[in-house]
Structure formats: structure tokens, C-alpha cells
């Protein structure tokens, strides 16, 4: 398992479009991805609704936890997506 804490950078927060892009990125890999914040319940990142319920806003930090055969690549891909602000402002 690999994990990393990241900060959400895009202005509008983790709304539906970022959640969708995140989920699509997760599906590019075979690993299982869990997302959590503030020590709360870990959410399966293959569910768009689950991701939305996290309510992550700009500046919030959250943890991405990846387990599986391609976990390093998956975590790298997801970090890149978050840091790219999902192509937003």
C-alpha cells in the first residue's frame, strides 16, 4: 500500500467534474483507491457520489491510499491530476 496527503488546489473544490475525472483516472489502474480526510471514513474512489460526500474544498488536505499491483503508478497519476487542478483555475 502507498499513500500520500495532498492539498486540493482548484478554486471550486472537489465538485462533480473533478470527482468524475478522479474516478476515471482510478479506473485506468487495477489498484484499489481509498480517499479520506481528517481521519474520517475511507471512501472508495470508484464511487463518484462517495467522492463528492467528502466535501473537499480548496486548501483542504486529504489522503489518497492505493493498494494493488500498479499502486505506485496509480498514486503518481492521481497526484498529477490533483496538482493539475483538474484543468481548472
Amino acid at each position: 500500500m502507498v499513500s500520500k496527503e495532498v492539498e486540493l488546489l482548484n478554486k471550486l473544490g472537489f465538485h462533480m467534474r473533478p470527482a468524475q475525472l478522479f474516478m476515471e483516472k482510478v479506473n485506468e489502474y487495477n489498484s484499489t483507491v481509498l480517499v479520506s480526510r481528517d481521519g474520517n471514513e475511507k471512501i472508495d474512489a470508484s464511487s463518484i457520489l462517495g467522492l463528492l460526500t467528502l466535501g473537499i474544498e480548496k486548501g483542504d488536505k486529504f489522503i489518497i491510499e492505493v493498494s494493488g499491483g500498479d499502486e505506485v503508478e496509480a498514486l503518481g497519476g492521481l497526484l498529477e491530476l490533483v496538482n493539475s487542478k483538474f484543468g481548472e483555475d
Binding site: R17, I48, L49, G50, T53
Partner: protein
């Protein structure tokens, strides 16, 4: 957040007759317009379709949450529809859509109200109990009662 406060009279339709996604969106926009939430229908419509163009808003379980942030919206509002017959929405789980929540927020959404509404709705839609209650609500009052209680 009390999302029932974002809805007024005509913005709740428990038996909406819509044959396609676009037909449904159009009718819900008109309902928001009728209640004074929309000042520029063309601008708001464009925002909603631009969002749909980026990827489906069919979140699964038979629910869709189309949304748009626009200068054509006077104040944050939420329109609800339970469709007479389910329609195709290219949903994440492939299921046709029966329940639609259309969100409209003003361009200058300083409090990130859009995200708050999405979170509030998502939290409920994940629960089977909420899904069943909303599917079985027969009147506007019942819909409001369910949404007030969340």
C-alpha cells in the same frame, strides 16, 4: 444545509413528462424561471449544457444532478423532478434516470454554495432508504418533507 429552502412551488414536479434529457432540463429551467430564480434563460441553459458536454451528470441509482453556474441565475435554486418514465442519461452505472435535481447558482457564488448543495445531495443519494423515500413520494409536500428532514 437545508436544501428544501432552495425550492419553491413549481420547482417540484412529482410526475414530470419528459421524453429526453434535454426535454427534462428545459422543463426544469422553465420551472425555475417561473419562480423567479432565472433572469436570463439562454445564459443559464448554456451553462447547464456546457457542463453536460463535459461528462454525464447521471450519478447512478437512477439519479441525475445537472447543474450550472451562471449570471442568468438570481439566487441559488434547486428544481426537482420525478419523471413519469425513466430516461437515458448516460449514467455512470448505466441505469436510466427517474429522479432529477437541477442546481442553479449565480455566477458570483462566493460561499461555494454549489459544492454544498452537491455534497448534501450526494450524501443522501448513496443511501437506499433515501432513494426509496424519494421514489415513493407522491406529492410536492412529501418531497419537501423528505428533503427538510435531511
Amino acid at each position: 444545509m437545508n436544501i428544501s429552502e432552495l425550492m419553491q412551488g413549481k420547482m417540484i414536479s412529482v410526475d414530470l413528462d419528459a421524453s429526453t434529457r434535454d426535454d427534462c432540463i428545459e422543463k426544469l429551467i422553465q420551472n425555475m424561471m417561473a419562480e423567479g430564480y432565472v433572469t436570463d434563460m439562454a445564459a443559464y441553459r448554456e451553462a447547464v449544457y456546457e457542463r453536460e458536454g463535459k461528462g454525464t451528470t447521471g450519478v447512478g441509482f437512477g439519479f441525475a444532478i445537472p447543474h450550472g453556474k451562471s449570471s442568468g441565475i438570481k439566487k441559488a435554486g434547486l428544481a426537482f423532478a420525478h419523471l413519469k418514465t425513466p430516461i437515458e442519461w448516460n449514467s455512470f452505472d448505466g441505469k436510466p434516470v427517474s429522479i432529477v435535481f437541477l442546481i442553479g447558482v449565480p455566477d458570483k457564488d462566493t460561499g461555494n454554495e454549489h459544492l454544498k448543495i452537491l455534497i448534501a445531495l450526494s450524501k443522501q443519494i448513496m443511501h437506499e432508504d433515501f432513494q426509496n423515500k424519494i421514489f415513493n413520494a407522491k406529492t410536492n409536500e412529501e418531497v419537501l418533507e423528505i428533503l427538510e428532514a435531511i
